[in-house]
Symmetry: C2
Subunit: 209 residues, 2 copies
């Protein structure tokens, strides 16, 4: 038997996914509550009950992006895993509408009147954890700064996906991520470690999470 | 005496500047033609005469960004000038509303239904010209690829300004650009050349254009 609370959780998910679809298609301003209501086959009352406002709904879609990625490895693994992770995210942007909408809203949040930096901070911390493992494994240059590099990597990824979206509907994103790594690796990796690293957009498929 | 054609040019500029202000404040969807009309103290007819549609106006604001920067050096000068150029752009984003609106619309162009990659291409070419001079001066690593690096630099700048806008209203943008360079220089500059380069956010003020 499905209880009331469990139904509420499922309704909330349904609304989030419908909102992600609509925001992905039309952005924040163009994505009306009416369309989201229709898409989720729910009521406006349910949307306002769960999310208070359209801004609250956009914020939830932004924050949902990281939690929704089921293919993420549980434990940090160092530089190669960080590289694979960025290709995995590129792949998810191409095929996962909730992630895509979350990233779009995170970039265009001026439209939503939001100022939600915490999602960028989450990705910086996630990347930094890989670098901490890399440091312990002797993969990093002595003067490389993990926190600085992690933030620059998030910035490079963000800009790459904005440009790839416009240039090719994100089809060339893996290629752009490979270019980003070719330019960034000499500033972070020990020459010996660098030679062993592979820029392969499909390598994340081998993860057993 | 001011002729009719000259008045038309001035009206077009007035509209562009008013549109930039409104888009900078409210984004594309939130910036109505009515508000732009009021801000420019002109008529809707004049706006549609010069720009055909709101989308046409947004496109013009995007393309206006590079032309409007009066402080750009005329001739490419190599790696130090490329560094100074990125700090100059960071400074212009903080103080120049037309540039800021153009960059915002270029990033959020999904909202405007545009797909205008040429402005990114223009910046890639501008940066690449500096790298061509740097190559001739022996500043670049033998295996560095100028075109790839120029595109990655545009991506890194774009992502940095998106994150800086959300984190600090762009106050920390120069610091983020310095971090970007610290991570990127080892992959592009010869060690000898790198030691002579300065990451100084104010150095562009010494340009005599």
């Amino acid at each position: 038997m499905v209880g009331r609370q469990q139904r509420a959780v499922r309704t909330r998910e349904l609304i989030l996914e419908a909102a992600a679809e609509v925001f992905d298609e039309s952005g924040f301003a163009g994505g009306s509550i009416t369309r989201i209501t229709e898409r989720a086959a729910t009521t406006q009352g349910a949307i306002y009950f769960h999310f208070k406002s359209k801004e609250g709904l956009a914020r939830a879609v932004i924050m949902y992006q990281a939690a929704h990625l089921e293919g993420l490895p549980q434990k940090p693994g160092g530089l190669q895993q960080l590289i694979d992770l960025t290709f995995y995210l590129a792949h998810e942007l191409q095929r996962n509408v909730v992630f895509r909408a979350g990233v779009r809203l995170a970039v265009e949040q001026g439209e939503a009147g939001l100022s939600e930096y915490s999602i960028y901070q989450e990705w910086i911390e996630r990347f930094r954890a890989e670098l901490t493992v890399a440091r312990a494994a002797g993969e990093l240059l002595p003067d490389a700064e993990e926190g600085v590099f992690a933030a620059v990597l998030v910035a490079g990824f963000t800009g790459s996906q904005v440009m790839s979206q416009i240039a090719s509907g994100r089809a060339d994103l893996p290629e752009r991520i490979a270019s980003l790594w070719r330019c960034l690796l000499p500033g972070i990796a020990m020459p010996g470690a660098r030679d062993a690293l592979v820029l392969d957009a499909e390598r994340h498929r081998g993860w057993s999470c």
